[in-house]
């Protein structure tokens, strides 16, 4: 038993060390970072975090990111729910081709779409808005959401639907009152993945924004090139980008394991 955990703990140390190192740096002064090599901050300082939390140019980026990630997660799950139901319950003309077509959008490299996206969203007046980034991220999140939800829904017996219809439920009422509560865990897992992939994406988010909706990830890249050496603030910004994700993991940790097991995938 002991041997089994040894490898796991070793891996977890490997996984956590780089993150610890960034946290360590975020709590140091720049002189200490470049001057001495220390395993923990000798002159503990919160100045780096204060810089970020008091400067609107910095914390605005977090707000922008959270807004478009939120819009994206809600929209992706909302449109994917009925579609996943259709795929899991019915055969219809072109269903298999449509499903694969959806998946192909998950496969298209964002680099391919950068310029056309920029032109498209500029021409409809959405450039530099949160909704533009949210729409662009739907390109890879919606197919994934449909895919995951379809797996969950197929794990629920069709007799439940039929019984509800016999009891006189209309489709919308059945779907909202009975079906959605049944796949709650699945929705949680799907929302987690949508949040994750949208939160970490940089290329599209950076291309589609300039000032008003500029995400934190893009603000960070600019600081690297301009200030160059301000490692402390950079590390503090990095630490703060992990916080929302860590909170989300904490809330869905039990669903993740249970979640996938339920569906047939």
């Amino acid at each position: 038993m002991k041997k089994r955990y040894f490898g796991l703990v070793l891996y977890l140390v490997f996984a956590i060390l780089p993150i610890y190192w960034m946290l360590n740096m975020s709590l140091k002064t720049n002189e200490e970072i470049t001057g001495v090599f220390s395993l923990w901050p000798h002159q503990l300082t919160f100045a780096n975090f204060r810089t970020i939390l008091t400067d609107p140019a910095w914390y605005g980026g977090y707000i922008n990111s959270l807004i478009y990630v939120g819009i994206n997660t809600v929209l992706s799950v909302a449109v994917a729910l009925p579609a996943a139901y259709a795929f899991s319950r019915y055969q219809f003309l072109g269903d298999k081709h449509l499903f694969f077509w959806l998946l192909t959008n998950r496969m298209s490299p964002p680099a391919v779409f950068l310029l056309p996206f920029f032109q498209l969203y500029s021409s409809v007046g959405l450039f530099d808005t949160h909704i533009a980034v949210a729409m662009a991220h739907m390109l890879f999140n919606v197919p994934l959401a449909v895919w995951i939800l379809e797996g969950f829904m197929s794990g629920i017996p069709r007799e439940i639907d039929e019984t509800a219809y016999i009891d006189g439920y209309s489709f919308p009422r059945f779907f909202l009152r009975i079906f959605i509560p049944l796949i709650g865990a699945g929705i949680g897992v799907t929302a987690f993945f949508c949040f994750m992939f949208s939160w970490v994406e940089l290329l599209l988010a950076r291309t589609l924004t300039s000032v008003n909706a500029k995400p934190i990830v893009a603000i960070m890249t600019r600081t690297v090139s301009a200030a160059g050496m301000d490692w402390g603030v950079l590390a503090a910004a990095g630490v703060l980008t992990i916080v929302p994700g860590a909170l989300v993991i904490w809330f869905v940790r039990n669903y993740i394991a249970k979640g996938f097991a339920m569906g047939r995938v």
Binding site: W21, P82, A83, L98, F113, M135
Partner: protein
Amino acid sequence: MKPINNKAWLLVLPVVLCVAFSAVIPLMTVVNYSVQDILSPEQKVFVGTEWFKTVLRDPELHGALLRQIIFSATVLAIEIPLGIMLALALPAAGWRSSLALVLLAMPLLIPQNVVGTIWQIYGRTDIGLGGVALHALGTEYNYASNSLHAWLTVVVMDVWHWTPLIALLAFAGLRAIPEAYYQAARIDGASRWAVFRYIQLPKMRGVLLIGLLLRFMDSFMIYTEPFVLTGGGPGNATTFLSQYLTQKAVGQFDLGPAAAFSLVYFLIILLACFVFYTLLQQSQSADQKG
């Protein structure tokens, strides 16, 4: 069998409209560019398949494609077995399980450029723990000047970032195996390996294929992490397909060739995924029969 009902299209319609707006219009724009020589917004010349011929003969593209294939194959070969091993080692329940899951999943939620930044710092031989440790061990490690070291750093970074995804998926697959299977195996006196080979692995096949597919797509599209870490260098050791494409499209503003390149790139991924997807479908229908 599922009932046939073409009204189901109404349920799929919102998804189709949303995705079509973000996918079909840009894709047609790319197709449009790929057959024209764009001198200025007013001056365009139709050149047919000229750009495709140029792109397919481009030795730099061949280099980037080869590096890409080697990179994707390497990370998949490490991440999938490692992820399975981690999933097998994870405690099944209790606070240890929760804690390990949360720690494990942390790297997944770090934005791509922050991943690059973390490793950029961590690998530095003056201020980074990883770089300093490797120097202390007597190596000449330096990712900024040595191509092999840069490449290895990108691989380790990708393994660090994405192995947890495979581990989480495999863990979910393992939890779905009923206890009765293990009891039967114990009665038969099955070895640890036999349990893995004939019970756990087949039961994880579905989730593993999803993991494989996601990791293949994403590793083939990797852009931000090496860009932040090394900017594609030293030389072009870590210039993968996306990076080369972006250099062409944004840096040199060569719209025509960049668009043709995009389409070729897209078709390569599409083809590979079609093969994986067909495998996935077959394994699912095999599961339903058996």
